[in-house]
Symmetry: C2
Subunit: 404 residues, 2 copies
């Protein structure tokens, strides 16, 4: 199958390695004989309908390699969800530029966009290859062992809780960290990787896979605090009550939704503040501190997993290879084949599009307030090399000498 001119865009929330996939695709296209021209759309599919396009074939190799190491989406992103009219506009532009293949790097909303664009292309008899390249810090794409972007964000969360637990040990109290994750708790669960010693934090982890019960939460915190004199808690922004309503959105004065109908949970500290207020007032613990990790966890400069970098790069390269060997549609997926080894498959787009994977039960403890060793084994190889390690003193006690 011959590809002449392809177009790539980046959708949804940026990650630390989404540019690796972009560059993997662009360099693999450059490598072909003759080279395949690669156009990029600025700000996701919006850049297609607005014809805001750039020629990635003209980028220098050095720029591309440096951009691959830069977090966030170098082409810009969008949260637009194309409807029929939007897709017809996409076709007009792609046709006018004689694009034969559309690659969209994104999460489950973006994969759904790919599915719709492919459907519209078929309905219009337009021969457009449509390939979705996975990306999401939430790790919530079905059919994938894990997704590019997750491991680097998980590394940030683990390193953040590692430090926060040390800080909390030095100045004891209760520390809460609120982590991104609307429906899937993978990223919050990554906090568990901060635990080396049994008394290291996080001591409690609350995930959107389980119903959040305020009374049980307070009882859990009190039990840890009574035992250790301190308590470190990881909380997903997506925790919800029995009716499925997010605790965070119950608190928001005005609920903000994106084009996909998702309620905006990040970008404010309301959930952290309410939980911390409940601990102060009901448990009478004075020193309670709460942080909302917010946007730091997905684009902090210099916190990246080399495993994640490599896999994101390969996901971009593989997308082109699948198209070159005859695929006309699909979603690139990462599958674990060893400890630790992966391969890349192309799944039918319908199997991935718009679906949400959540944590398996085997990853969550019985009480629903922490993870299992199986989750730690699952995540550890993804975090990459040179993870900073905490260390403690042996602390040889001195006998009391005074009568003070």
């Amino acid at each position: 199958m011959t590809l002449r001119k392809i177009l790539v865009a980046q959708g949804g929330g940026p990650t630390a390695v989404i540019n690796q996939s972009l560059v993997g695709l662009a360099l693999a296209a450059r490598q072909q004989t003759p080279p395949i021209q690669v156009l990029g759309a600025r700000f996701g599919v919006r850049g297609i309908i607005e014809e805001d396009l750039v020629d990635l074939s003209k980028e220098s190799q050095d720029d591309l390699e440096r951009v691959a190491l830069t977090p966030s989406s170098a082409l810009g992103s969008t949260r637009d969800k194309p409807d029929l009219a939007y897709c017809q506009n996409i076709f007009k532009v792609l046709q006018a530029h004689q694009i034969d293949s559309f690659f969209y790097i994104g999460g489950n909303d973006s994969s759904d966009t790919v599915r719709i664009v492919r459907q519209e292309a078929q309905a219009s008899n337009y021969p457009l290859r449509c390939i979705h390249i996975p990306k999401t810090i939430d790790n919530d794409l079905v059919g994938n062992d894990h997704t590019p972007g997750f491991a680097s964000a998980a590394r940030f969360v683990a390193q953040a809780f590692g430090g926060a637990s040390l800080d909390n040990a030095a100045l004891p109290g209760v520390y809460l960290g609120v982590v991104m994750g609307r429906h899937a708790g993978f990223l919050t669960a990554a906090a568990a990787l901060a635990q080396n010693h049994p008394d290291d934090g996080p001591h409690l982890i609350y995930l959107p896979e389980r119903t959040f019960d305020m009374a049980q939460f307070l009882a859990d915190v009190q039990a840890v605090y009574a035992r250790l004199g301190r308590c470190v808690v990881a909380v997903s922004e997506g925790i919800h009550d029995g009716s499925g309503m997010a605790i965070a959105s119950q608190l928001a004065k005005e609920v903000e939704r994106d084009a996909h109908g998702n309620v905006q949970l990040s970008g404010n500290g309301a959930l952290a503040d309410v939980l911390s207020e409940a601990i102060k007032s009901q448990l009478k613990i004075k020193r309670v501190r709460a942080d909302t990790f917010g946007y730091l966890q997905r684009s902090f400069l210099g916190c990246v997993s080399d495993v994640d970098q490599r896999e994101a790069r390969m996901a971009g390269e593989k997308a082109l290879q699948f198209a070159l060997t005859g695929a006309v549609e699909g979603s690139v997926a990462i599958r674990r084949t060893g400890d630790y080894a992966v391969d890349y498959a192309l799944l039918p787009i319908e199997e991935v599009a718009g679906k949400t994977r959540v944590m398996d039960d085997v990853f969550i403890n019985e009480q629903g307030n922490h993870v299992t060793p199986a989750f730690v084994s699952y995540l550890r190889p993804l975090l990459g090399a040179n993870l900073a390690q905490a260390h403690r003193l042996a602390l040889h006690r001195i006998e009391k000498a005074s009568d003070a």
Copy 2:
């Protein structure tokens, strides 16, 4: 002068390198002939009065070297401010253990503790050497070019804004990051080091050295947003109105103070949320996101400046050397002697104790909403090696081809 048995403690907020000073002191003491015994007090001066002491001379060299690389205070910390009775208890314990030198690693509150303990020792005719070893992410100790702990926290802030600016460029809107700093804006100002290109964030920086005016703030944000279609803002938690009252504490339902009378500003997201609400409601900008960096900035694992590590280690070593060469009291200070070189002085404790340094006027721009190039030059050499760099595509535009 002969030292036989010294005691060290760590006070105030932890930093990424406070253990370097501890280990620098402990290893320098071990190196003497005969070795000086080093006791450590758990949880700052509280560990002295509670006689919660450990023998650091028994720690393995390897443990000490690994702990030096670990953020937060390995001995534990406290925010206690000793009064006369408290100090008399300190003496009882130090005397019972035949301690001849007391080293306290901490910020300006801790240096004031050192001053009081020394005064009480003199009043009691107890021959106790009292040396303060500097530490504070706030960089607010007088007599110092900068303080151990600041550079690593500044590195975190710069890398956080570097990533946040890229994220904001991909999904445009307004992004606010609230940074620690009660009276001194150094750490917030460090955000400026994220700017490589002129349109990189942070576009605006608000410091506690200037009066915060909400109307001017909103006008500033609107001007940047009108120009770039986006805006990244760094805000110090310590910003205050004309009366000197912190904006954050005006918002808090209940003001929490520590033993030094400091209002608790961190550990909640109220300031970020109020500023972001004002932008949404008054400027009608829809996408506004606000993060409070909180505790991540002072103890995140794996974000540390090698310059900071080295200087913190030297500050601990130098403290012992000053005592060995006859000093009976003082505060170790870092002075800049070249570009880039430093030396270490011992200042009279009264010159440092309880005083707060703020940013020089030459470091703040005329409008009071950003820093000057002088500040960037001041900070750059402190951030250390291997700082992650952002890079962008050249973005060669494609001519419009459709009539879409």
